[in-house]
Amino acid sequence: MKEAYTWAAIGLIVIASTTGDILLSHAMKKVGDVGELWKRHGLLKVIARVLATPTFFLGLVAMGIAFYSLLFGLSWGDLSLVVPASASLTFVANAFAARLFLHERVGRRRMLAALLVAGGVALMAI
C-alpha cells in the first residue's frame, strides 16, 4: 500500500508539474520578451501584462498541486526515490507535452537531450 501511494504521488507530481510548465510557458510566450518590454515600457507594464494572462495563474495553481503532491509523496516514500523519479520523468513528459500542446519543434536533438538529462538526474540520486 505504501508503495502504491508513493507511485501515485510521483504520477501526480509529474502530471501537475508538466501541466504547470506548459501553462507558464504558454503564458510567457503571450507576454513576449520580458527584457524588451521592460526596456520599452518599464517594469510595471511587464508585471501588469503577466498578471493579465489567465494561464499564468492556472500554471501557478498546477505548480502548487505539484508541490503538495511532493510533500505527500515524501511522507510515504524515500527522498532518494521520490525526487529523482519525479524530476526525471517530468523532463521526458515535458518534451512530449511541449511538442503536443505548445507545438515546439522537438526533434531528435531535444528528445535525446531530455533523455540524457532524465538519466543523469536519476544517476545523481544514487
Binding site: 520578451d33 511522507s75 515535458n94 511541449a98 519543434r105
Partner: protein, 141 residues
C-alpha cells in the same frame, strides 16, 4: 542569443541550486516536520537560512519566467538542470564531499544533454513572440 539571455539562463541554474541548498540547510536546523505539526512549516520562514533560500527561489522564478518569455520550454528545462551539477560540484570542491562514480556519470549525462540543446536554436523557428508582433504593428502604423 545575446549575452543577457545567457546570463538569465545562468541565473535559472544558479538561483535554483543556491535556493534549494539554503532551504535544505535551514530545514536540517528545524528537524523533521510531522503531519501533526504542520504549523511549524509556516514558522520555518523565520529561520534565516530558509528566508534567504526563499528569496533566492523567488529570483529563480523571475529568471525562469523571463527565459520562458523568449525561449522554448524544451530549451530552458535542460539548461535549468545544470543546477544539479552545480550543487554536486559545490559539495565536492566547497565542502570536500565524496562523489560516487554513478554521480560523476550523472554529471556527464546532464552536461551532455545541456550541450546538445544549447547547440540548437532557442526558439522554434516558425514561432513569433508577442513583442515581435507588437514591433511589426508599430512599424506599420
Amino acid at each position: 542569443m545575446t549575452f543577457r539571455k545567457y546570463l538569465v539562463l545562468a541565473g535559472v541554474a544558479v538561483f535554483s541550486a543556491a535556493g534549494d541548498s539554503l532551504l535544505a540547510r535551514g530545514m536540517k536546523d528545524l528537524g523533521g516536520v510531522s503531519l501533526h505539526n504542520l504549523s511549524s512549516l509556516i514558522l520555518a520562514i523565520l529561520d534565516p537560512w530558509v528566508a534567504c533560500g526563499i528569496l533566492l527561489l523567488l529570483a529563480f522564478f523571475a529568471s525562469y519566467m523571463s527565459a520562458l518569455s523568449w525561449a522554448d520550454l524544451t530549451y530552458v528545462l535542460p539548461a535549468s538542470s545544470l543546477g544539479y551539477v552545480l550543487v554536486a560540484l559545490a559539495g565536492r570542491f566547497g565542502f570536500h564531499e565524496a562523489i560516487s562514480p554513478a554521480r560523476w556519470m550523472g554529471i556527464a549525462l546532464i552536461t551532455a544533454g545541456v550541450g546538445f540543446v544549447a547547440a540548437g536554436p532557442s526558439l522554434t523557428p516558425s514561432r513569433k513572440l508577442a513583442t515581435d508582433v507588437i514591433s511589426q504593428q508599430e512599424a506599420q502604423s
